[in-house]
């Protein structure tokens, strides 16, 4: 197909980079925001703006909440298609329940998985979810959307497109193409070391865009590679469900053997049994961790088959001081509190896998590393965006002469996925402050309204992008870029102002009190607004006095 290897790699980089770049913009941007997803939750749900708490008493505080939890209407609606017959009013038989804390979350996430009678497939469970205040057990209203961990984060790994897991597949393919783009980019880049620190904004747009594309791609290359790679490893079970299909027999045999070896029952006994004091088990677990020199907080607490003789309680240590996620699991017999098993130290392969997944999922406590991750993510966004800009800049004059609209289409898509996406995110946060506390009857939940606002604002930005990129078809700069930068500048100031007006938590107060989740979010938005304003002014100057083009020279320099 090509004259040589380098040309084939350059072709791959250009075309697959372009098409999947639109998806990767979303993945990188919302991935960067997700580093501080729980802090964004605090901003979006003012009732949760208090300090993170340790796991509270199971016996006194959590148990009554668990007993009260039932699946909500949306879970029931999703389950209707998977049963033969009606769903019961109240679900009674619990398969598994649990709670998890993080060092960044003041509120506690609880889940209860109930057995579903008359289910078509065995082992089907329906889940009840609730978020509570760990200081007193009061529940957060169900209609609140955790904009960070409940929307931006899923948008990052699945585009919130859940039908047949298609969103996961699109993101997965985009991640693989990111790896392809990184490798082909290195192969194409002839002077990778010599030009490592090169950025020449005063030269032609093509040159400065390419310089920035190379700079942001190369300096954070290990970051970009590892995040795309570990993202794939995390969801490998979705992309290659080998052990649940072709090798299911091997998997099931191993499960039975493992259940015997670990002493953790695989099935319920069918015999009722009480639940002993879980607080005593937690205390024992913490004593054992301390005895090993690894004193720590509880990260995850789960009970399998509560109320059954085969029930067991699993307690995991929060992994805040290292990359691996929760670990050091200790398991107790639920009915008596006797120790069943202390998880042995992980094998080498398990440690490698935990390192890879933990590096991506970031349960560690390290504020500098988190901000460096945001820098990495935004560098990735800059790399992809400058890729688009270079693509359009290189072709728009040629396309104008040929009467082709190709460059304009790409520019419109680029505006939509770069500035349009930021406008949508800010628009959602503004809507979060403007919507009434409880939606009137007949309207969708407040959380759903916020999602609709996000998509609506993005659609509007897309329409604006299509309309205002007409000059690209004549080889000129599109005004859409400057206009959307101005929109970002306005919204980036409006959101913190609305936060102040609606909650009283203005920057002087949050900074003075050291309440960084909200202060940080406000400051980040204001900084973004400032950058957008500078960009808009630059673009205005460019529109009036375009930078000279040395097209022939560019062609010679770049494959």
């Amino acid at each position: 197909m090509f004259q040589n290897f380098r040309l084939s790699m350059a072709w791959l980089h250009t075309w697959f980079g372009l098409f999947l770049g639109f998806v990767l913009m979303v993945v990188f941007f919302f991935g960067a925001l997700s580093v501080f997803d729980r802090e964004i939750d605090r901003w979006a749900i003012p009732a949760t703006r208090f300090e993170p708490q340790p796991m509270p008493s199971f016996d006194k505080l959590l148990r009554p909440v668990f007993d009260d939890m039932q699946p909500l209407d949306d879970a029931r609606a999703a389950m209707r298609g998977q049963v033969d017959g009606p769903l019961p009013e109240r679900f009674e038989t619990v398969t598994r329940l649990g709670a998890y804390t993080t060092h960044r979350d003041p509120v506690l996430g609880l889940f209860v998985g109930y057995e579903v009678p008359n289910a078509k497939e065995k082992d089907t469970a329906i889940f009840a979810l609730r978020t509570v205040d760990p200081r007193d057990g009061t529940a957060l209203p169900d209609d609140r959307l955790k904009i960070g961990s409940g929307f931006f984060y899923p948008l990052h790994y699945s585009l919130t497109f859940e039908w047949k897991n298609l969103g996961y597949w699109i993101v997965g393919f985009a991640a693989l193409m990111m790896l392809v783009a990184l490798v082909t980019g290195v192969i194409m880049h002839r002077k990778i070391f010599r030009e490592l620190f090169t950025f020449r904004p005063k030269k032609s747009t093509q040159r400065s865009m390419l310089d920035m594309h190379n700079l942001t791609g190369v300096v954070a290359l290990p970051f970009h590679f590892f995040f795309a790679f570990t993202g794939l490893v995390i969801f490998a079970g979705i992309y290659f469900p080998v052990t649940h299909t072709q090798l299911e027999a091997l998997h099931d045999k191993h499960e039975r053997v493992e259940a015997l070896e670990t002493g953790l029952p695989h099935e319920r006994a069918g015999v009722a049994a009480p639940l002993a004091s879980v607080d005593a088990m937690v205390a024992e677990a913490q004593r054992r961790w301390a005895a090993k020199g690894m004193a720590g907080d509880v990260g995850f607490l789960g009970v399998q088959f509560p109320g059954d003789a085969n029930g067991y309680v699993s307690i995991y240590r929060a992994g805040t001081d290292r990359i691996a996620l929760t670990g050091e699991g200790i398991h107790f017999k639920a009915s008596t509190g006797a120790l069943l098993r202390e998880d042995p130290p992980p094998t080498v392969v398990a440690r490698i896998n935990e390192f890879l997944t933990g590096l991506h999922l970031q349960h560690f406590r390290h504020w500098l590393l988190r901000w460096l991750y945001v820098l990495g993510g935004l560098s990735g966004c800059a790399c992809i965006a400058t890729g688009f800009l270079f693509f359009v800049e290189k072709r728009k004059r040629q396309h104008a002469k040929q009467g082709s609209a190709g460059a304009r289409v790409v520019d419109a898509l680029a505006v939509t996925t770069v500035t349009g996406m930021v406008v949508a995110a800010l628009g959602m946060l503004v809507a979060n402050r403007l919507l009434p506390d409880a939606m009137p009857a007949g309207w969708p939940w407040r959380g759903d309204m916020e999602k609709y606002c996000f998509w609506a604002v993005w659609a509007l930005a897309a329409a604006h992008a299509v309309w205002r990129t007409a000059p690209v078809a004549e080889g000129r700069l599109a005004p859409a870029w400057r206009e959307q930068c101005l929109a970002i500048a306005v919204l980036g100031v409006l959101a913190p102002v609305l936060n102040w007006v609606t909650t009283g938590d203005h920057l002087l107060r949050t900074v003075a009190e050291g309440y960084w989740p909200v202060a940080g979010a406000d400051l980040f938005m204001l900084a973004g607004a400032a950058i957008a304003l500078l960009a808009a002014r630059r673009l205005q100057r460019r529109a009036v006095a375009p930078v000279p083009v040395k097209a022939a020279a560019m062609e010679a320099n770049h494959a």
Partner: protein
């Protein structure tokens, strides 16, 4: 507080290291120090300095956190440092002169100081 200072020192070491690496490249040396090209000995010396600074940064990171976290902090700090040096070279190149303060700055007519 001690940890914060050590991490700050690590960031500074990474930045200095990247700066020395950049200065070992012809194009950037001339940006910072004028027309004359650095001698091969100087180029090698700058790269050694750069490497040493980055190694010291890794050591500092390891003093603060467990190995798994320290390595990541170090790699990300290197990326941030490289970006900082690149932007400094673009807009305030002469500032990097402080890293090679011992080398004479060549005046444009080619004569040494």
């Amino acid at each position: 507080m001690r940890d914060a200072l050590m991490l700050l020192a690590a960031l500074a070491a990474c930045t200095a290291g990247m700066g020395w690496f950049a200065l070992s490249l012809e194009a950037h040396w001339t940006q910072v120090r004028g027309k004359a090209l650095p001698s091969p000995a100087l180029v090698a010396g700058l790269r050694w300095l750069g490497g040493a600074a980055m190694a010291m940064a890794l050591g500092l990171c390891l003093l603060v956190d467990s190995a798994s976290i320290a390595v990541l902090v170090w790699l990300m700090a290197l990326a941030a440092a490289a970006l900082a040096i690149a932007f400094t070279l673009t807009w305030r190149a002469r500032m990097l002169g402080v890293l090679v303060f011992w080398a004479e700055r060549q005046v444009p007519d080619g004569s040494g100081a």
